[in-house]
């Protein structure tokens, strides 16, 4: 346990000295939290006079009894849920890519592997170091967002919606599962690539399904409800287990020293 903690602290000490990583970890949550608040603020008049005819029929139906203006707000804000789910994908990818490709470049993995640390400990340390800041940043961003909503003209129905089970599942269940997926994916990509930026860009394909979700919702094909969230969480959990298994197989002392070039 102590060794995992040592690795996590070392990763944070090192990787946060990298400007690109620091920028991603600090700036992205600020941007993704501020953006919805700003848009809510600038559209508050339009939303109250909003026309529910602009909404996808499936969504309008789900709104039920609330006013069409509030329904419009909820629809708008639901798009931003996607942003909150992108944070736990992008941040771990940035951290893990730089950390692993960086260690490959400086050949610092070999002395590390020569210590009594076990391979699972090392993998856990690296994964936690990448996933924890992402999850925390997402949560902090979400809390700030919730606190900010009333100040930018969000009505009670909107707040109820944000604090409803769909959002909470997205932030507190789907988000962490996504972070785990992103980390393991980034570790696999990093083992094959020698440029951290390339690793980051290739690993960024993990956001593609999320974008699909977003466009599906805008087009009205998908309604983000609790069932869909639970299904997503289940699918992610299965993918995570698979990726952890593959990642652990790839992250072997001998493989790292002989095959990671």
């Amino acid at each position: 346990m102590n060794r995992i903690q040592t690795i996590v602290e070392k990763e944070w000490a090192e990787v946060f000295k990298n400007r690109i990583v620091l920028f991603t970890v600090a700036f992205l949550p600020i941007l993704f939290t501020a953006l919805p608040l700003i848009i809510l603020y600038t559209t508050r008049g339009a939303a109250s006079a909003g026309d529910s005819a602009d909404l996808p029929p499936s969504f309008a139906k789900a709104c039920g009894s609330i006013t069409s203006g509030e329904c419009m707000q909820i629809f708008l804000v639901n798009q931003f849920m996607i942003l909150f789910m992108m944070m736990p994908l992008i941040i771990p990818v940035a951290i893990a890519s730089y950390s692993i490709v960086g260690e490959k470049a400086t050949r610092s993995l070999e002395p590390l592997l020569a210590t009594p640390i076990t391979t699972p400990e090392l993998l856990a340390g690296k994964s936690l170091a990448a996933a924890v800041p992402a999850i925390l940043a997402t949560w902090v961003g979400f809390v700030v967002f919730v606190i900010g909503v009333p100040f930018v003209g969000g009505g009670p129905a909107l707040i109820t919606s944000i604090l409803g089970s769909v959002w909470l599942t997205a932030i507190f269940v789907v988000g962490p599962l996504m972070a785990v997926m992103a980390v393991n994916f980034a570790i696999m990509v990093s083992s094959r690539v020698n440029d951290p930026r390339a690793a980051e860009q290739i690993s960024a394909v993990v956001v593609v399904p999320i974008l699909g979700l977003m466009f599906g919702q805008i087009a009205g094909v998908i309604v983000l409800n609790v069932q869909l969230m639970m299904l997503t969480a289940l699918a992610l959990a299965i993918i995570d287990v698979g990726l952890i298994y593959l990642g652990a197989r790839l992250f072997q002392r001998e493989t790292i020293l002989t095959k990671w070039k």
């Binding site: 102590n2 000490a13 400086t106 002395p111």
Partner: protein, 305 residues
């Protein structure tokens, strides 16, 4: 301390280490000498439980590789071929991380001990990335020693260093030797092996020969003594060559170079002969073959089928 039996490592079709058998005793500094690509690093990686052998077995400090890997890593220290430091972290931070990973008792104390021992204490707060090559190597050596390993593996500790830094590192290895540590030293620097090692193994995929530096010399050339004579006459060379215990005698300028097996016994005879013939002998000295000659001879021989 290290016991190796028919250790073999193949990378696909390539055999990097072929059936290596070797013993290294406690407190010994063993020189593992071979050209680039000989398989030195591969051997060290097997002995430090970083990669598994294809065949054969080995024990380090009584621990079996492949079975007691965790315990082996706790027991051995490894200076890797490249220092592999965390460049953005300070020297002290680099060592602290490793001291913690090795489960060292008093981390700050131990870190301080080795920073001071390697002359890095004043620069402990500086980023490792700002260090010169020599300092980086010293920091990497400190890192390998933090947990007071029973056996130390040094993979080409002075390669790529300027002569001054190389000397500092070499002197430090000398100090470790004096402390009685068991050291497995990979190198292709012959002078280094000659000065530091009690025994040398010449290795190129296979172990070609193992012996003390002195015996290696004798094995190949016998011994050579040089007599400096004021105005050397050709007759004297012939007379010396005719002596029964002399293998060879050649004139080179004013020097008479004599090959023989037992100079301790026979030098006085040669000297007497020369003086009797009227030679003014100025100096007598033994010519030491550089280990380089010996090494090249062995490697060349090994290359021939």
């Amino acid at each position: 301390m290290i016991h190796i039996e028919k250790l073999t490592k193949q990378f696909g079709a390539l055999t990097a280490v072929d059936s290596l058998s070797l013993d290294v005793g406690e407190g010994e500094v063993f020189g593992f000498l071979g050209p680039n690509g000989a398989g030195k690093t591969t051997t060290v990686r097997m002995l430090t439980s970083l990669i598994g052998p294809t065949a054969g077995r080995a024990t380090v400090n009584g621990l079996e590789i492949g079975r007691d890997d965790q315990a082996i890593r706790q027991t051995v220290g490894l200076l890797t071929e490249t220092p592999g430091l965390y460049d953005r972290l300070s020297a002290e931070h680099n060592l602290t991380i490793f001291a913690r990973l090795y489960g060292v008792g008093d981390v700050p104390d131990q870190v301080q001990k080795y920073l001071r021992m390697l002359g890095l204490w004043e620069r402990r707060q500086d980023e490792a990335g700002s260090f010169s090559k020599g300092m980086r190597q010293k920091l990497a050596i400190a890192r390998a020693l933090l947990h007071e390993p029973e056996v130390l593996f040094l993979d080409e500790p002075t390669s790529g260093l300027d002569p001054e830094a190389a000397k500092l590192v070499r002197d430090f290895i000398g100090e470790l030797k004096a402390e009685g540590r068991t050291i497995f030293l990979c190198t292709h620097n012959l002078d280094e092996a000659d000065r530091l090692c009690s025994r040398i193994g010449i290795f190129k995929t296979r172990l070609i020969t193992v012996d003390t530096p002195a015996n290696l010399r004798q094995k190949l050339y016998g011994r050579t003594v040089v007599f400096h004579v004021k105005q050397l006459l050709p007759d004297w060379v012939g007379a010396v060559r005719a002596l029964p215990f002399v293998r060879s005698a050649e004139a080179a300028d004013s020097r008479l170079v004599v090959g023989l097996d037992d100079p301790e016994t026979h030098n006085p005879d040669i000297l007497r002969q020369l003086v009797a013939a009227g030679a003014d002998v100025q100096f007598v000295g033994e010519l030491r073959h550089s280990l380089e000659d010996i090494y090249l001879q062995f490697i060349e021989k090994a290359g021939q089928p």
